[in-house]
């Protein structure tokens, strides 16, 4: 057997740079054959002959690396049979969800096209574990990885294995990036022995054999940090709004650009959701910066143009997102219903998928358009212009807290006015208008959140979110029910659905109506505490404004 020429990488080596590539040479710091390591640390134990195994696999994770963040990894490799026909069926892939300590938490054989959503996995422990870990996020497969493992058992005088030394090297086949690690594998009931051997490794070689598994260490390279922050905020609410919020807007622009790339690649529906959140937050800040005293027409014109850009983007992203929500609702409904009923609803799923594909194509055209590129480049130039350029109006020079306080008071007053006017007979539009006001209010609060003591901001946000949840449910259910009827009509006219499917669509719309009515009934109880004076005082106190002022 050839000597194993790999060793342990010191911590900090090979850390990924911004573009995800390793800054340091790939060679491990210590290049020691495993046999030599074993010989040096075995003490009174005897070391077996080194065994070598190799396999090819890929890793799966979400764009925002949820599995890596939760300390686990999802491996996939050809199921036994290597893709050949087994028992008349395609062998498929074996998926394994592995803990940080190498323990397989759940596994399943996947036949046919590999799913991207946990929802599409066959029923079982793997699906349950993934639903919890990645929710509705899509899975993206890494390139193929060659994993080589060298191992030896350290045995006592009776020949019983007391621990194992394992060296693993994982190499990305397309780029050659590799990570190696040596670990001492403890066996149940013999942990003390493994500890002693690990201590000897450290004493003899100067490194700790507890590095992350090479497959886990590859994750930052395979799934680079998502660009931009989803919810940037200001930490000092006393600083002038222009320079302070410029940085927040720039972080949001980073997120918009990164999420746009994700939307174009269409790897995960949530990329679009995150894009829309970044757009809405941008618009919320732009509204905050709207100057009352127009002492600088130039600054206002620039911001006005940006407002128009992001309003357009908000609209352009709407239809695809609406269809994503419809598809999510269809999936959720399919889960709740019987297998027979789910089969009847399949044509609706196909119809929604086709509609969504068309909407997404239109959205991709918009995101690749010159209008989009020019507008974003122009907006970046404005944001990069420096703090001086962001003090051109009265609003830009005012402290963020003061500006936010004014806006919070105004929005809260409006929300109370709109909410109080809502009666059981009010039209849906009234609740929708309140929802929009509440959303604006929440975004402003979230922007100044880090600058406000947590015990003041948390209770306010909790109540605002609870109200928004009810308002969201009322509107979403109504929109979905209307859309379902529309889809049903279109499918009926074009012959895409038979009577059974149309009846099932009708039943689903009825179900949504019932749930909408339930949410509508909850509104008064959730709104009442928001309208109370003491809650108003808490809201106003967030940005340091006087209690009892305003509303």
């Amino acid at each position: 057997m050839p000597d194993l020429s790999l060793g342990h990488r010191r911590s900090g080596d090979g850390s990924p740079s911004a573009n995800g590539r390793s800054r340091t040479p790939l060679e491990p710091t210590v290049v020691t054959p495993l046999a030599a390591i074993a010989d040096a640390v075995r003490g009174s134990f005897a070391a077996d002959r080194i065994e070598m195994t190799g396999r090819r696999l890929r890793l799966l994770d979400t764009v925002d690396r949820r599995l890596t963040a939760s300390g686990s990894r999802l491996e996939t490799e050809a199921a036994e049979g290597g893709g050949k026909e087994v028992g008349g069926k395609e062998a498929g892939e074996r998926w394994r969800l592995v803990d940080a300590d190498g323990r397989v938490r759940a596994e399943a054989t996947i036949r046919g096209r590999a799913p991207t959503l946990a929802d599409d996995l066959p029923d079982g422990p793997l699906r349950q574990a993934l639903e919890k870990a990645i929710s509705i996020r899509g899975l993206v497969a890494s390139p193929w990885i060659a994993l080589t493992e060298h191992s030896t058992a350290l045995r006592d005088a009776a020949g019983k294995t007391r621990c194992r030394l394992v060296a693993r090297t994982a190499q990305v086949e397309t780029t050659g990036e590799q990570r190696s690690a040596v670990r001492v594998e403890a066996l149940k009931g013999y942990r003390r022995e493994a500890r002693s051997v690990a201590e000897r490794v450290t004493r003899r070689f100067g490194w700790t054999p507890a590095a992350p598994d090479p497959l886990t260490a590859l994750a930052p390279i395979l799934w680079p940090e998502p660009g931009g922050t989803a919810d940037p905020a200001v930490s000092d609410i006393a600083q002038p709004a222009g320079p302070g919020l410029r940085l927040v807007l720039r972080a949001l622009l980073d997120a918009i650009e990164a999420r746009s790339r994700g939307v174009i690649a269409d790897i995960d529906d949530e990329e679009l959701h995150d894009l829309r959140v970044a757009i809405r937050r941008t618009r919320s800040i732009l509204a905050l910066l709207r100057s009352r005293a127009t002492d600088s027409k130039q600054a206002d014109r620039t911001l006005e143009r940006a407002r128009a850009t992001f309003a357009w983007l908000g609209q352009a992203t709407g239809p695809t997102r609406d269809l994503d929500v419809h598809i999510l609702a269809w999936r959720a409904h399919r889960r709740r219903t019987s297998a027979e009923q789910a089969a009847i609803l399949e044509p609706l799923g196909r119809y929604l998928a086709a509609e969504r594909a068309a909407a997404h194509a239109a959205l991709v055209r918009a995101l690749r358009s010159r209008r989009f590129r020019t507008a974003l480049a122009r907006w970046r130039a404005v944001l990069d212009a420096g703090d001086q350029a962001w003090t051109g109006s009265e609003a830009l020079r005012r402290p963020i807290g003061e500006l936010a306080g004014h806006r919070i008071r105004k929005l809260y007053r409006r929300a109370v006015r709109e909410g109080t006017a809502i009666t059981p007979d009010s039209p849906a539009e009234a609740l929708h208008a309140l929802r929009k006001t509440m959303k604006k209010l929440r975004y402003v609060v979230e922007i100044i959140r880090p600058g406000v003591p947590a015990d003041r901001v948390r209770p306010v946000l909790r109540r605002l979110r609870a109200l928004q949840q009810v308002l969201g449910d009322v509107q979403d259910m109504e929109v979905q029910a209307d859309a379902l009827r529309r889809f049903g009509l279109a499918m009926g006219e074009t012959g895409l659905a038979g009577p059974a499917t149309l009846m099932a669509i009708g039943a689903q719309a009825e179900d949504l109506e019932i749930r909408r009515a339930e949410a509508r009934d909850r509104f008064a109880a959730v709104f009442a505490p928001v309208a109370k004076r003491n809650f108003g005082d808490k809201v106003r106190a967030l940005a340091g404004t006087r209690a009892g002022d305003g509303a």
Partner: protein
């Protein structure tokens, strides 16, 4: 989790070889297996090269004060762990007797292991005792190795009677013939006739083979050092049949 006990009132019929080789076959088939060596002679423990010592002795095992997980030792085989025997297990009867609901004690102790193991294999001492009764209450199936002799069949009848007397619902008896030498006419006769009166009998027979004795020198399950031997193949087939019955 299924609890399987290798049991016979009679000694020297191949109980330990059965427990060890079936456990290994189950682990090879992908199950997470724990062998519990209840026999103070500690033969299964010896086969797995583990020291016959348990923290707190038999009392530590049955009192429930010590976490059973602390007593588990990994063997050299993947997915196969062991709670070793201890010489103090010779008094396991007395220790069980000192506990409340002694007959159901073992079943209660094993319950928390359900999330960690798919199969628990009990290697039982011969004889009928309180330990055996506790095993009967804990097990889903008794795998009973029988040598094809009249005396051996008599002990199986005793076992059946005992099971019926105890009225243990859900305990399946799975007798099978071990150490079968088809050159002997008595063996042939017994083996061929037994299933007529005992439909519960397993179809696989383990032949008499000197290679089984080598387990003592190799200190490992048969399939690791003689994987192609007739006995090793028979144990693998036997597990397959048992697993099917257990469902």
């Amino acid at each position: 989790m299924k609890v399987v006990a290798a049991y016979n009132i009679k000694g020297g019929v191949g109980k330990t070889a059965t427990a060890v080789n079936l456990a290994y076959a189950a682990a090879r088939a992908g199950a997470r297996v724990l062998v519990i060596d209840l026999d103070p002679q500690a033969a299964a423990t010896f086969y797995f090269r583990v020291k016959p010592k348990v923290k707190g002795g038999g009392k530590g095992l049955v009192s429930g004060k010590r976490d059973l997980d602390d007593l588990i030792k990994a063997t050299d085989h993947e997915r196969l762990d062991l709670i070793p025997a201890d010489f103090s297990f010779r008094n396991l009867d007395l220790m069980l007797d000192a506990e409340k609901k002694s007959k159901k004690r073992l079943a209660k102790l094993l319950k928390p292991l359900a999330s960690d193991y798919d199969v628990i294999m009990l290697d039982c001492p011969p004889s009928v005792s309180l330990v055996s009764e506790a095993v009967f209450h804990a097990a889903d199936a008794l795998v009973v190795p029988l040598i094809p002799t009249t005396l051996s069949l008599r002990t199986y009848q005793q076992l059946q009677g005992f099971r019926d007397e105890e009225k243990i619902a859900g305990l399946a008896l799975m007798p099978f013939f071990s150490m079968v030498d088809r050159r002997k006419s008595l063996h042939r006769e017994v083996v061929d006739r037994f299933p007529e009166d005992h439909p519960e009998a397993l179809g696989v027979q383990v032949p008499y083979a000197s290679v089984v004795e080598r387990m003592g020198t190799e200190r490992a399950p048969l399939a690791t050092f003689a994987p192609r031997s007739a006995a090793a193949t028979a144990y693998a087939a036997l597990w397959e049949e048992i697993a099917k019955r257990l469902g």
